[in-house]
């Protein structure tokens, strides 16, 4: 089963790459399923943004799969992991290519159910409680979304995103639908202050699952929000609404980072860092109205890609430490830099991307965001971006400092450390390297993104 699933994932990655190439050469692709066409049938639609999201899923998923073949090698939970993993990747891919409001609802539920089942995989009390909370939150988010779809259909009589977008008026029904979608996705992305469910759910899941949830699943909600804010409702709403989201984004950056700094368990630290990093994505909404909207747009999408790779790698590295030491108390990881240099290097390298140090993908992304904020003279956001980077550095270095503390090799703690298979250590390292290398090749995704740029007219 593991190798079959990995082979399927390789095929999916190959198809995503082929699709991206097609979009890059020939522009956005629309495929009417069964030849029915948009008003009644369900269309699939791939533009630059969708192609990038598919590629992101393909690459990150593949490394997580590789990691999982070793992680679940002698674990009963593995039997359930593989079908759920394929289910989740299928649902994610379906979500990214859907161009139909109701179809998006169904894929959203599929993603939610698969993720909750994965989060509950260990079957232990805290994991079950955390996934129950996750399930309630994700169902509530989907229902808010579904209500919005009902209102939009009642008002405009269409489900195809492009058709609804063309018929959309600036009127109360659109505002209510819009608010429902925003709050629903807000819950699913776990933006502050609706983040309460994320840290326990992500931290109590098995290693590969934490990586999936933090790296990919939260991005699904954000992708949907991007589609709606930028493509469906571009003229409908007030820039002030964008500032509300931006302010919560800033609060998330600061609140999440401070909490990450205070955690005593490594996986909780990484989970709170996800809460903080989701805040960056929300800076798009205020910045997209400025003259540098195009630059903010590219920055945020690039940040989404870099974060997916880096956070998945970081969770895998953290889970390695948990496996080897049998616990993940940060203070108790002394000497791990000497025992598991590859894992610690992977942790550090993904940390570099999250902090936004050059030459990583995170650096280019933050640079684009910063320049947009500076250009628009929104110093509030400039300060938040810089402060968030510093705080990220603080919590990453806190882990590295503890890990590189030298302990005498005869100490009892060192002897108890379990040796890990090489695949467990190298999968996160290579993925972290890919996320870091995104900085060198940032031009490629950005060019692909041109196929979906809503800001081409304001671009310099």
């Amino acid at each position: 089963m593991p190798y079959f699933a990995l082979a399927v994932s390789t095929l999916a990655l190959g198809s995503a790459a082929g699709l991206a190439r097609h979009v890059a050469l020939e522009g956005a692709l629309r495929y009417p399923l069964g030849g029915w066409g948009a008003p009644l049938g369900i269309d699939l639609y791939v533009d630059g943004l969708a192609a990038l999201a598919l590629l992101m899923t393909g690459v990150v998923n593949w490394f997580i799969g590789l990691y999982a073949t070793a992680y679940f090698a002698d674990d009963r939970a593995g039997r359930y992991f593989w079908p759920l993993w394929l289910f989740l990747s299928g649902a994610l891919n379906a979500l990214f290519v859907s161009a139909d409001l109701f179809n998006l609802y169904v894929t959203l539920e599929l993603v939610g159910l698969a993720s909750v089942a994965l989060a509950a995989l260990s079957g232990k009390g805290p994991a079950l409680v955390a996934s129950m909370r996750y399930l309630l939150v994700t169902l509530l988010g989907s229902l808010l979304y579904l209500m919005a779809v009902a209102l939009l259909y009642a008002a405009y009589g269409a489900l195809d995103i492009a058709t609804v977008g063309a018929r959309l008026q600036n009127e109360p029904v659109a505002w209510v639908a819009f608010a429902l979608i925003t709050v629903g996705m807000w819950l699913k992305i776990a933006l502050f202050p609706l983040h309460f469910w994320l840290p326990p759910a992500h931290a109590n899941a098995p290693g590969p699952v934490s990586a999936l949830l933090s790296g990919l699943v939260v991005k699904a909600g954000f992708y949907l929000l991007l589609r709606f804010w930028i493509m469906l409702f571009p003229d409908t709403f007030d820039p002030r609404a964008g500032h509300v989201l931006g302010a919560f984004g800033v609060a998330a950056i600061i609140w999440g980072s401070l909490h990450a700094l205070r955690q005593r368990r490594l996986k909780l630290l990484v989970a709170y860092s996800t809460v903080a990093q989701m805040g960056y994505l929300f800076l798009l909404f205020p910045l997209s109205f400025t003259v540098q909207g195009a630059s903010a747009w590219s920055g945020v999408v690039l940040y989404m890609l870099a974060h997916a790779g880096a956070k998945a790698a970081m969770f895998m590295a953290a889970s390695n430490l948990l496996l080897a030491y049998g616990h993940d108390r940060i203070d108790g990881l002394s000497g791990s830099a000497h025992i598991m240099p590859v894992t610690l290097f992977a942790f550090g390298l993904s940390g570099v991307t999250l902090m936004g140090l050059p030459p990583s993908g995170g650096f280019v992304a933050k640079w684009l965001l910063l320049s947009a904020a500076v250009e628009a003279q929104m110093w509030f956001y400039v300060g938040a971006i810089v402060l968030g980077g510093l705080l990220a550095a603080a919590y990453v270095f806190r882990v590295l400092r503890s890990a590189s503390r030298i302990v005498p090799s005869t100490a009892a703690g060192t002897l108890a450390v379990r040796r890990l298979p090489r695949r467990l250590e190298w999968a996160p390292l290579v993925l972290a390297a890919v996320a870091a290398a995104l900085g060198f090749y940032a031009v490629l995704p950005l060019e692909l993104l041109e196929e979906a740029a809503p800001f081409t007219e304001v671009a310099p």
């Binding site: 169904v106 129950m132 009902a150 259909y153």
Partner: protein
């Protein structure tokens, strides 16, 4: 459609205000039913004309999804009761349940 919105709000209240997990799951189902009512209402707005069948197809799909999620949520609730002995989610200010009540609390 108004009935749908009312049901939706009622379900939301149940989901947020009730502690028992069964109440929360039922609340979600009531919310889903409310949404379906809005869909049905959206399909039959002009009196005397046959209603638009598309919303009904969507409601059918929605019911399937709702049944699946409800089944899953109930299964998870049972499992939580078996493992932790309680049918509420522990809040941050909660005290743990007394040990003798374990596994019988429903």
């Amino acid at each position: 459609m108004l009935v749908g919105v009312a049901l939706f709000s009622l379900g939301l209240h149940g989901l947020l205000a009730k502690a028992h997990l069964l109440h929360k799951v039922l609340g979600l189902n009531v919310m889903a039913s409310g949404t379906f009512m809005v869909f049905i209402g959206a399909g039959a707005r002009v009196p005397g004309v046959a209603p638009d069948p598309v919303p009904q197809a969507m409601v059918l799909t929605g019911i399937v999804v709702a049944v699946c999620t409800a089944a899953y949520a109930l299964a998870l609730t049972r499992r939580i009761r078996d493992v932790t002995g309680r049918t509420t989610l522990p809040g941050e200010h909660d005290t743990p349940p007394p040990p003798h009540r374990a596994a019988r609390d429903y």
